[in-house]
Symmetry: C2
Subunit: 224 residues, 2 copies
């Protein structure tokens, strides 16, 4: 019953249900437990997320891709995905772990999710695992803004990108203000002379306008 609900949430039905059970079995409960599957699943997950980021963000450097992946596969992120899947209620834990709240512990839930990815990989192959990961991680993988993926604002991202390519930093200039003093609208240009890029951003503060201009400049670089 519960496992059926999980099948629906995963969008995947196991041919070999023993693999699913192992993936959800913590070492405190019994053997086989999920530690070996976690090892496998961690690497499958890393590979699929790397692929997704590589495809989605052609403008990101190797270092930025690494950073973005680390954010997506870190324990807190896996824990959140595991909670969405309600894995806690399905875990097989030893009595001590049950009593001490193991079913809500981020490390245990994150590990179980990795093990689950490994189990789907073994059961259904790489493409089934890929489908699962894209489904479960849609909320993070669907972010189209690299700055958000990287947890950085657009100006920082643009600056780091240019530094990485040894290109002179952008200049930001206010090119217009509108409205009354207490509710002004700013227009700012972002100029990257070396790349012949000039973008305009608008906002209710100078900072907001600069961020928009930076984001547009970054997108322009990506399209070059």
């Amino acid at each position: 019953m519960q496992a059926d609900a999980l099948t629906t949430r995963l969008g995947y039905r196991f041919k070999n249900p023993a693999l699913l059970r192992t993936a959800l079995t913590h070492r405190s409960h019994s053997s086989p437990h999920n530690e070996r599957l976690e090892f496998l699943g961690d690497s499958v997950l890393n590979c699929i997320v790397a692929d997704a980021l590589y495809e989605r963000f052609p403008q990101l450097t190797e270092g930025e891709l690494s950073r973005a992946r680390a954010i997506i596969v870190r324990q807190q992120s896996l824990f959140e995905r595991a909670c969405e899947l309600e894995l806690g209620a399905l875990l097989h834990l030893g009595e001590g772990e049950v009593r001490s709240g193991g079913a809500q512990r981020p490390s245990i839930l994150a590990d179980a999710l990795e093990a689950l990815v490994g189990a789907v990989y073994l059961d259904g192959g790489f493409s089934a695992a890929r489908k699962l990961v894209h489904r479960v991680f849609r909320p993070v993988l669907a972010r189209s803004d690299p700055a958000a993926v990287l947890g950085k604002d657009a100006k920082t991202l643009l600056q780091e990108h240019l530094q990485g390519r040894h290109i002179a930093l952008p200049r930001y200039n206010i090119v217009g203000t509108e409205g009354e003093a207490h509710r002004q609208n700013f227009t700012v240009e972002c100029v990257i002379a070396q790349l012949s890029i000039r973008t305009l951003g608008e906002g209710l503060s100078r900072r907001a306008a600069e961020q928009q201009a930076a984001r547009l400049a970054y997108d322009r670089i990506a399209a070059q």
Copy 2:
């Protein structure tokens, strides 16, 4: 001509030769270079090696699998594989790198091999990349002895495995010697009481006989 030879050595022909060229292009030469492909290929390689080790060594713990993989994908190992493939002669390097011997530098060659794995993954999919990795890494992946894979002797491996499972350590006893004093043949038993395992090893030294007995005991555990 050279690329054709590589095709033969790789056992893979690129549908999109531009990907192959990018994989072999160092950032000192031109753009697009191989750094993004290296990021992707590193994760594809890690995944495929994890899978291979998971399948081949059902007795290894998560920690042992991690260690084995780290040994297989470390720079020196990748460098050796890249040399076998004679990648050095095919690299596109900037003039400075050519002069300073970049084509023989372990880091550059290891990175190019990772990029090549990434390129095959993009060009032919996961199964093509898997086939390539199994072909290129056959010398290391084919080792059936986990002690060799882990770079440990059998006694150490057995001891660590038992410690990890909180099982009392094995006892080694000489149960026989044959031959003259300067060329004795030793027979040693390895006893793991808790698992009811007893194996016999032979060798021209006590140590060699113990290693053989330990290896057999470890295999016995694996089969349990």
